[in-house]
Symmetry: C2
Subunit: 327 residues, 2 copies
């Protein structure tokens, strides 16, 4: 049995992307197979396409895609499982999400919020699991604390802002786009436009938690802006990976610098997070407290156009690829 999938033929520009046919993956014990309705693009896909972010061991190396939403199509033989064919689900994978079918450990699946289109649900897993893990699990963000979010118009940024608002944090966000900041303001975030300079002088009071995807020169500014007991979550290095560090700041203010990426995590850790997220966060989508932010939904045939839009940095929220004309 064959299925269609987005395939990277080598490393390079968008010319290496094609839609092709690959074998439909088999279901092993403890796994379920999901028919994917929609799968969002991520910046990690661009890095993978350029050959700079290979899939971790155990995941498809040529098929990109870190998240998906769809319907359970098959479970392993007579395995006892909580899933039934037809269940609406979503999830995070180490690769292979941008295909007609994906095989996932049953404990790593998350029910799609009731009443939500699967093309919206596909924009949830990477952003909201990452933001939840970073802000709630790792940074232990508390009501009344001050939160600074870099790249506030990104999928991660808008997810973090919604979770931060729910927790009751006072929020600041940076972006090089005034238009994105204006849109992010709806989530209760005060904007800092960094199109013409840094952010440090625009932050007038120390902050308790920083969600950073920049690294590089921003690292030092982040350490300086943190209040005693502050936590810096490092989730990306868009501004570079080398930083001159004043360790006195870390010691004297008793800071925590926490590196966190989702993709290399093992099954146990993915399952724990999926369970916690199902209980604590999925209901918030059903009650309208949280919303996935979708920039646009493209038919999967337009995947190259999706890469170009993300590369041009003119998106607000997620670009979702849809396999279903009727979804």
């Amino acid at each position: 049995m064959q299925m269609r999938a987005v395939i990277f033929d080598g490393a390079g520009g968008t010319e290496v992307i094609r839609l092709g046919e690959v074998p439909k993956p088999a279901v092993a014990p403890g796994q379920v197979r999901v028919r994917v309705h929609a799968a969002a693009l991520n910046r990690a896909d661009l890095m993978q396409r350029r050959g700079r972010y290979p899939a971790p061991p155990g995941w498809p190396s040529q098929i990109p895609g870190l998240e998906f939403a769809g319907e359970v199509e098959a479970v392993y033989r007579d395995d006892a499982t909580r899933w039934t064919p037809g269940d609406r689900v979503m999830g995070l994978v180490g690769g292979g999400g941008q295909a007609e079918y994906v095989v996932v450990g049953e404990d790593e699946l998350i029910p799609a919020p009731e009443g939500m289109a699967l093309s919206d649900a596909a924009a949830i897993p990477e952003s909201f699991l990452t933001a939840y893990d970073a802000l709630v699990v790792r940074a232990r963000l508390r009501e009344g604390e001050r939160l600074l979010i870099h790249a506030a118009g990104s999928g991660l940024g808008t997810a973090a802002a919604q979770l931060g608002r729910r927790i009751g944090a006072a929020m600041l966000g940076t972006s090089r786009s005034a238009a994105k900041l204006a849109r992010a303001a709806v989530f209760g975030l005060s904007g800092i436009d960094t199109s013409e300079g840094g952010f440090r002088d625009a932050v007038h009071e120390p902050v308790d938690v920083i969600l950073d995807v920049l690294g590089g020169a921003a690292f030092r500014d982040n350490l300086e802006l943190l209040a005693p007991g502050g936590r810096l979550l490092l989730l990306g290095l868009l501004a570079g990976s080398s930083a001159e560090t004043d360790l006195q700041l870390i010691l004297r203010k008793r800071l925590e610098v926490i590196g966190t990426v989702m993709r290399p995590r093992g099954a146990g850790e993915r399952a724990r997070l999926a369970r916690e997220f199902t209980d604590a966060v999925v209901p918030l989508f059903e009650h309208g407290v949280l919303v996935p932010v979708v920039d646009r939904v493209l038919p999967v045939e337009d995947v190259r156009q999706g890469h170009e839009a993300l590369e041009a940095n003119d998106t607000f929220g997620k670009i979702v690829l849809s396999w279903e004309s009727d979804d």
Copy 2:
């Protein structure tokens, strides 16, 4: 009413140290006054003497001393308190410990282990509270993990080694003294002699937790030695405060860099830690699982000699100053 105390007259060498008379401190609501029997020296006292580590606000600025053991002498009027004059206690303070009397919040006191001389108990608070807070509370060290302890012959190092052994960690320790490493081996620690070079090439497997008082150039080596999910506890900067950092290591391995110092902590945090330590750690001293490591006990009149010995770095464990000829 006057009392005797160690006093720093300005900043400089040991010539600024004298024993003098100062007013006996009054007891405010929620506080108790302790007659100090013994108080240990710390490297922080040397830094304070040189004018580089002033006492935090609210603590005596001229009287050094971060830890003490003694007997409760007075409680505030008729306050309900769990302490009674004569109770044997120990504790951590932001300053003023090297005096005949010290006034402490009642919740910050810890009972001295039963059957232990107060001159031994005086060597417990700073080392063991710091090591407990770092390894157990902050780093969440687990059985079977690999722990690297820098400056393994110090009071903190020997306390950390004992706690690490109790938790069931595999332990490595560095020191520039082969003699100190030989003595530290009794706590189950494999020694790395750094008298002639670095430690990185001597560590052949990644480690999960590092207790570091060095900083500086050791920072990069520490990050490289950590396993995925590893935690680096930064407690001192003996090797300098500036470090070129490869943020990729922090991000990719999902590391945590945690700065931690005791001295600036507020009353609430001190009280929480004292309570937890009383329940979880004090019994281990009473059962002989943990032992304070005392290099020597000096009469307080020899405080200058104590500074010189600590400065010469030829101590193993704590130098304790005793106010009591009969203790």
